[in-house]
Amino acid sequence: MSLDALVRLSRGGLDLDLPLRAGDGEVVAVLGPNGAGKTTALHVLAGLVRLGGGHVRVDDEVWAGDGIHVDPSLRRVGLLAADHLLFPHLSARANVAFGPRSRGTSRADAAARADAELDALGALDLAGLRPDRLSHGQAQRVAIARALATDPRLLLLDEPLSALDPELRPLVRATLAARLRTYRGSTVLVTHDPLDALTLADHLVFVEAGRVVQEGSPADVVARPRNAYVAHVVGLNLYPGDAVGADTVTTALGPVVTSGHEHRGASWVAFAPAAVALYPHRPDGSPRNTWPGRVVAVELVGQSARVRLAAEGGATVVAEVTPASVAALRLHPGTDLWAGVKATEVSAYPA
């Protein structure tokens, strides 16, 4: 067990009591509404805020707890805040090289490492610029590179993609996903974006007012949201698979057609329950992914109904429909029907 923490802390109106665990190479996503204490918890892990109670242990080293408080500079964490917090007096390259230099890497090696990290995020052309010459999104990409350049044991990401423009976000998300795959430490990812959480994380922790309201694997949480917030946020069906062609990923559901993707091999396929249409008969038309299935459960969450289907291969598909549709299609456990998803609604990411 790489990260084993119990973050207890009272601060202003906030009363944190948050267990966080992550194995080697594992990514834990922490989700929750504004003010839930997510950022505060990350700062405790980084050592910037002192623990009120509980403990922080990484690889069986005690970083905090029982009167111990290891200095942030000795913890080997990488912290990426929502604000980029680049050093205003350093170029992008020098910002990224700062961490390696701090840990004793030679000037040349640190610069090379910086360039490599910037390149991976498509920001190499910015290397010579100072933060005040970068737009918000550019700056955030440099900050991501900086956090990754130190090979931290524990990577703390606080809404890393929130400032990126929608066209760039998938690219950076994919880069981050690829980077996290080879990364051997543990990652705690705070995010508001369910797609980030579901595609990057192995384990989700939902926090409200400092407490865990639900946690589990992505599939678990998606299948059984126990709370309106969670149901709202986690709006995806997610399947591991194998990207075999330019627009096909084979999964437990069978081949899933996407609108095109560039990677091959291990892949995630995701689509929103709301994108799943249900038909009493096999539909013809543009939904190119259609699967027969049997309704396992129908739940009303807020104003919509979530319908769980067992598809033929044993996989589960969740559809979100209006309560009126439930009535019109007479949905109840045991109903056989067809589920359809348009290829343009399917996201595929390298795993």
């Binding site: 910037l48 913890r75 701090s102």
Partner: protein
């Protein structure tokens, strides 16, 4: 000019006048014809050279010792820090001549540190150029420390936090993050400390004496000249001012936008 702006500009101009008028008075009072001859006096060169060397040494000591102190003070929040800060300000309050006496009592032949230094190492500080530097550091350091501390307090704490998570040890955080971000304050503090050292008189004459070529700085020479012929004193002061304004102007022009 609109009222709101005028309410800023008018007092600012008054402030500038408070400083500038006496300087204009000084310039108006100069007998320009005799000036070159007065500055050619053989006592002038060594005094000016000594002033430049000792004030430079003072600035270096301020950098080396004052910067870490300013940094620690800027990061500390306790009562201890508050009182240490007050104590560091004390040399500003002390009439410089009394400061000189205090320095003698500490580093003099019978002084707290001076006596052991003399007996064990055979090192005598007073009445040497080292004493000049020590006197200047004593009066200048507070200005440096307080100016730099103020600038360092203004740094976004989160940048410091981030540099720590990137693995930077305290010294590196200070040198690579805090120093550049506090650069305007450091330039201001350096300028203040250097200028104060250049003008230093009371502590120096008391602690270091007033030996031509050895401890007689330009400022002391001005004092001596003022005893009989204030034109020489004024001429030398003007020369000092010209150097100071040039140095400060260039320093600023380079280091601060």
């Amino acid at each position: 000019m609109r009222l709101s702006r005028a309410l800023i500009v008018v007092p600012a101009v008054l402030a500038a006048l408070v400083v500038v008028l006496p300087l204009v008075g000084l310039l108006a009072g100069v007998e320009w014809r005799g000036l070159p001859a007065r500055l050619a006096d053989p006592a002038v060169r060594p005094a000016v050279r000594l002033s430049l060397v000792t004030t430079l040494a003072t600035v270096v000591v301020c950098w080396a010792l004052g910067t870490p102190l300013a940094w620690l003070l800027s990061r500390a929040d306790g009562r201890g820090a508050t009182w240490l800060r007050a104590v560091v300000t004390v040399p500003v309050v002390l009439p410089p001549v009394v400061g000189g006496v205090a320095l003698l009592l500490a580093y003099g032949r019978r002084g707290l540190v001076g006596e052991p230094l003399l007996e064990v190492l055979g090192l005598r500080i007073p009445f040497t150029p080292i004493a000049v530097v020590l006197a200047q550091v004593f009066v200048s350091l507070p200005f440096y420390v307080l100016a730099v501390e103020g600038a360092m307090r203004g740094i976004d704490r989160r940048l410091i936090d981030v540099s720590a998570t990137l693995g930077a040890r305290p010294l590196r955080v200070l040198l690579r993050v805090a120093l550049p971000l506090a650069a305007p304050g450091i330039v201001a503090g350096t300028a203040l400390a250097w200028a104060r050292a250049l003008g230093e008189f009371g502590a120096t004459i008391t602690f270091a004496g007033n030996f031509a070529g050895e401890t007689q700085t330009a400022s002391l020479l001005v004092y001596v000249a003022l005893q009989d012929d204030h034109q020489t004193a004024v001429a030398l002061s003007l020369a000092m001012l010209a150097v100071a304004v040039a140095v400060l102007g260039l320093l600023r022009g380079r280091w601060v936008r």
